[in-house]
């Protein structure tokens, strides 16, 4: 299987979007590039952009490797992508509204009732809640893969608390520091206004009763030991809002308020980076120390906006994913502009049989898993690994879906031996309020091991700056 290389599809000719970059690249000597790559690492380490890896107590903080070769997307390609993403995001929010109200899509039989009824991600506490502007998922990271010149697919919708946007911003910052001359000669669309857009977007979904000119926004983090803490602090800082922890917050005068040096001050919009289960010990896990007791009561009373809303996991669940084409059609009346990857639902008998027979060709994923831990990449796995996985699969088929091993497109990275192609995916970040905004760019994740298709940072993936050209 030969992957589509985004720079040189046939091995020699450079594609249009990479032409100017390639001209510049030809003029560089290898030593300078290597030096720049090590400069980049210094920058990241110094600023403390690190990533805490679970289960590694000693090496608790690790850098996500950064590759200095940008991933370049043409303006035309980007426009196509964003139309598809907007359609998808609209459908996701419509689906959430429906699922927590009349459930028309279940009544219409377009999505099986059991899929929702037996799903942990469905939060009964959200039933009947309609947040401001009807937005449930305000910040979405849509993972997109490419397999050819015109083939883009959505791999996953991250509608809960998608992370990675700080890397998009810091990668750009670093690239501008390292290669200012590139940005002078090539017009790359800016991403650095993301924090301002995020703040505006959050302000637009203030609670109905909030009459302030500038609603008070805060970012809720689980704290400094969370793997994405750097990002939480970064976003709060860049937006110019408070970074709060559960212990700072309390219900006061019917609002959620934060403890300041001058007493309690109410919060209008809470951008929370704490999972549903930990959000409110009075409503969800009683042992949670990361949340705010009573916040769900304040929320149901309409006195605070929680972004993203609780219960949005039902929309990005891997089992729901396979129904996204039906979901998009049901709510938008149109065929999806961006395709899904064909998916076998192992809960279905025929599919399970097929999957078990073709394990060596498929990627099998856990429905509720994330981070690439509970998955099997068939072609890369040993016979014994496949057999072990087949047992797990047969024991709980409803827990798994399977997809063909896509030949993800590749992009060159700077390796020890010069440029070499590596597989990539793309996570653009979408902001939803009474309008949908997508900053031109995103997080390109790259599998740094030769031939590897796993781009997750927890499994040795790296990142690249993503350029959308202004053409």
């Amino acid at each position: 299987m030969v992957a589509f290389d985004e720079m040189r599809p046939d091995g020699t000719t450079v594609r249009g979007p990479y032409a100017s970059y390639n001209d510049w690249l030809k003029a560089q000597d290898a030593a300078r590039l290597a030096e720049k790559a090590s400069d980049a690492e210094q920058v990241f380490r110094k600023t403390g952009i690190t990533f805490a890896v679970y289960g590694e107590a000693e090496a608790a903080e690790r850098l996500i490797p950064f590759d200095i070769v940008p991933r370049i997307i043409s303006g035309a390609e980007w426009r196509r992508l964003t139309q598809g993403i907007e359609q998808r995001v609209m459908a996701l929010n419509a689906f959430l509204d429906d699922i927590y109200h009349r459930q028309e899509i279940l009544r219409a039989g377009r999505v099986p009732k059991e899929l929702i009824a037996n799903n942990e991600a469905f939060q009964p506490e959200m039933i009947g809640v309609r947040p401001p502007a009807g937005v449930y998922t305000h910040i979405i990271g849509v993972d997109i893969v490419r397999t050819g010149e015109n083939e883009f697919f959505v791999l996953e919708d991250n509608a809960r608390t998608p992370s990675g946007v700080s890397y998009m911003l810091e990668n750009r910052e670093t690239m501008m520091q390292l290669f200012p001359e590139l940005f002078q000669s090539i017009s790359v669309r800016p991403v650095e206004n993301y924090p301002q857009l995020l703040r505006q977007s959050l302000s637009r979904v203030r609670p109905e009763g909030c009459r302030k000119d500038t609603p008070r926004v805060a970012v809720l983090t689980p704290g400094i030991y969370n793997s994405a803490y750097f990002e939480h602090a970064f976003l709060a800082d860049q937006m110019g809002v408070e970074l709060v922890e559960g212990s700072d917050l309390r219900v006061v005068d019917g609002r959620v308020a934060m403890r300041t040096t001058e007493g309690y001050k109410e919060i209008d919009v809470l951008y929370r980076r704490v999972d549903d289960a930990f959000l409110d010990p009075m409503t969800f896990r009683p042992d949670s120390a990361l949340g705010v007791a009573g916040i769900m009561d304040v929320y149901r009373a309409g006195n605070i906006t929680i972004a993203n809303a609780p219960g949005t996991g039902i929309a990005d669940d891997k089992a729901i994913y396979s129904y996204m084409p039906e979901i998009i059609e049901f709510y938008t009346g149109r065929k999806p502009l961006l395709g899904n990857i064909p998916t076998w639902r192992c809960a279905e008998k025929d599919s399970l049989a097929y999957v078990l027979e073709h394990l060596d060709e498929l990627v099998v994923k856990e429905v509720h898993g994330s981070g690439g831990y509970g998955m099997l990449v068939g072609p890369a796995a040993s016979k014994r690994e496949r057999e072990a996985f087949a047992e797990k699969l047969a024991a709980r088929p409803g827990n798994y879906i399977a997809q063909p091993t896509l030949s993800l497109s590749t992009c060159p990275v700077l390796s020890g031996a010069g440029l070499a192609p590596r597989h990539v995916d793309l996570r653009p970040f979408v902001l939803v309020s009474d309008k949908i905004q997508i900053v031109p760019g995103g997080l390109t994740r790259v599998a740094l091991k030769e031939g590897s298709l796993v781009v997750n940072s927890s499994q040795g993936g790296g990142t690249k700056d993503t350029w959308v050209l202004d053409d």
Binding site: A117, P124, V251, M282, A293, D297, G302, N303
Partner: protein, 264 residues
């Protein structure tokens, strides 16, 4: 029947409370079988934070206490006009889907005990089987206070063979779900014949039957609710529907005193 109700709850602490939140579900439902007149909540030692309707359409009030109080008292008072509909509450309303009421919860998890009760339901019409279930539960689990508490799951109460109305309701709900019926827990009041003083608020179960909608069953008293019953809150189990639940920061011991009067 017009019932005059007063429900007095008092939490006292032997050390001052640092901070406490209580969620109150003490406002009766306005529905096909009852009409609420002049219902009031008076709260002492705490303040009302918000009022909202929860996912089961229960009128809910969140109150908070801080700053070293030693007691919180909540008094719910008012009158409810009830009617006897032989337990039939009617068609399902609200956004909570019927399938949700088939979800097993920690308190209503079915085990061998529930399975044995289900066996005693026999083969007959839905209503007959449910009445059989009610009788079986009442026969198996004798009413006795002090043997179970708010955390006791249905199976545990069956094993003990004793319990209170809450346990009966949990067992009923569990068994009904096990046989495919949507079922819910109801908390409310009961006017006991011959006395105005009640030990506590009451609890029973409701099951959704295709032909009738929701129908109530009170295994503790072996009857379907009539005009003596007042519905307050519903949910999947006690945790969703209980009159008062909350959290508290502070080290002291908590003492709870409840006084309920239901007068005709």
């Amino acid at each position: 029947m017009r019932l005059k109700i007063s429900h007095h709850t008092e939490y006292s602490y032997d050390a001052p409370v640092g901070y406490a939140l209580q969620r109150l579900r003490l406002i009766p439902k306005q529905d096909t079988v009852q009409t609420v007149h002049g219902w009031e909540l008076s709260i002492d030692g705490a303040r009302e934070e918000v009022r909202f309707r929860d996912q089961f359409a229960n009128e809910t009030v969140l109150i908070s206490a801080e700053g070293g109080r030693h007691a919180i008292t909540v008094e719910a008072r008012g009158e409810v006009e009830t009617s006897d509909a032989a337990g039939v509450v009617g068609e399902h309303r609200g956004f909570a889907p019927l399938w949700l009421f088939r979800r097993e919860t920690a308190l209503t998890k079915a085990g061998p005990g529930v399975a044995r009760l289900v066996e005693q339901m026999g083969e007959a019409s839905d209503l007959e089987r449910l009445h059989a279930l009610m009788a079986a539960i009442a026969d198996t689990v004798a009413y006795q206070t002090g043997t179970t508490d708010a955390e006791t799951p249905a199976e545990e109460a069956i094993k003990r063979g004793t319990g209170v109305c809450q346990d009966h309701a949990h067992i009923f709900v569990s068994a009904a779900r096990r046989t495919g019926f949507p079922a819910r827990y109801v908390s409310g009041y009961l006017h006991m014949d011959g006395t105005d003083q009640q030990a506590a608020s009451h609890a029973w179960a409701e099951v959704h039957v295709d032909s009738l909608g929701w129908v109530g069953f009170d295994p503790a008293n072996r009857v379907s609710p009539d005009a003596r019953y007042v519905r307050v809150a519903t949910g999947l189990d006690y945790r969703d529907a209980c009159p008062v639940s909350g959290i508290r920061h502070g080290s002291g011991e908590e003492l709870l005193a409840v006084r309920v009067t239901v007068e005709q």
